[in-house]
């Protein structure tokens, strides 16, 4: 009971808020490199940004095992996600349908998460990575479906091995993981089909 005393509110209007955030993530996934802003609809727990919280409330449920960043385990954010999303938490990255990362520097390598199978590429994991900052202009060049010519972005706080790992992930197409980067109230998606040059 003591844990419940500190749980913040979820979406005030669960159906419509979740629908609008879902649409926003769908658009962001279709147009990689484009940064979208989520409306401030839920009270985010300590350690989670508005965008990460909104994406979590929209996508996570009792059917999606979640790998939670060790920084969030055992604190308010874990209780919040268990209460509002009802998602099972798993230690094993291979069984997780979603990963929620708030300390990207110390996150597991991308290859540790499930990439799905050739028969069922949709069973791969999707990682929500909360970063130090996202910008429209920057050193990272994206090309692929949904992007006219190319897009450039900047993402702060990623480890050195990140983009080489992403090349491997991109090479696994049609299997592979998808990423949702968040920062503050901003969201940018990186599906497995996108090629990244740094």
């Amino acid at each position: 009971m003591t844990a419940l005393q500190n749980v913040g509110a979820g979406f005030a209007d669960p159906v419509f808020s979740a629908q609008s955030v879902f649409r926003l993530v769908l658009d962001a996934m279709a147009q990689s490199g484009r940064i979208a802003a989520v409306p401030d609809a839920a009270s985010a727990p300590a350690g989670l940004d508005v965008a990460s919280t909104a994406v979590a409330l929209t996508l996570f449920d009792y059917e999606t095992p979640l790998w939670l960043d060790p920084a969030l385990r055992g604190v308010e954010a874990e209780t919040y996600l268990r209460f509002h999303c009802g998602c099972p938490l798993v230690e094993d990255t291979q069984t997780a349908a979603f990963g929620l990362v708030t300390a990207p520097r110390y996150m597991p390598r991308l290859g540790e998460f499930s990439i799905g199978s050739d028969q069922y590429p949709d069973t791969s994991a999707t990682l929500v990575i909360q970063t130090g900052g996202l910008a429209d202009e920057g050193p990272i060049r994206l090309t692929g479906p949904g992007i006219k010519d190319s897009a450039s972005v900047a993402i702060d706080g990623l480890p050195d091995w990140f983009w080489p790992d992403w090349d491997v992930n991109h090479g696994c197409f049609p299997t592979g993981i998808d990423l949702i980067f968040t920062s503050g109230n901003r969201v940018m998606c990186l599906p497995r089909s996108i090629k990244v040059e740094v």
Binding site: V7, A9, P14, H84
Partner: protein, 141 residues
């Protein structure tokens, strides 16, 4: 919790109206209706099996004084879930707890018991006892 969930909505409304000051609160989880699978055991001890699904409405709220109340009620009445959660929260507040325990919980429990007894009496009046001739299929006989 059970008493609040099983109480008639009208009785809860009366109890709510009898409160001197109606507390204000924020939703942690607004009322939502869903299904839960009810499980039973044959004879109370057998293997669990699914009896069927029941409609349940639940909500969680936090009063301004900081208590968190949870309401789970059978059926689709969001107001019932809200009042159950509200009383759950108020029962946790030290200054109201003792008074509400007697004025609301015990009274509602009494009403529920009386209603149940009346219903059982009605059913009892039409009870039919079946007698069968022993034909030897009962190994205990």
């Amino acid at each position: 919790m059970g008493v609040l969930a099983k109480a008639a909505l009208t009785d809860l409304e009366d109890a709510f109206a009898a409160l001197n000051d109606t507390p204000s609160f924020d939703w942690v989880r607004p009322p939502e209706t869903g299904l839960v699978m009810v499980q039973g055991r044959a004879g109370g001890t057998g293997q669990p099996f699914n009896v069927g699904e029941a409609t349940v409405t639940r909500c969680t709220l936090r009063t301004d004084s900081g208590e968190t109340g949870v309401g789970y009620v059978q059926g689709r009445s969001k107001r019932h879930a809200e009042l159950a959660a509200l009383f759950d929260a108020l029962l946790q507040s030290p200054k109201l707890s003792a008074r509400l325990q007697t004025d609301v919980v015990e009274r509602l429990a009494g009403l529920h018991e009386r209603r149940r007894a009346a219903a059982s009496r009605k059913v009892k009046a039409t009870q039919v006892d079946f007698f069968t001739m022993v034909r030897g299929e009962d190994p205990k006989a």
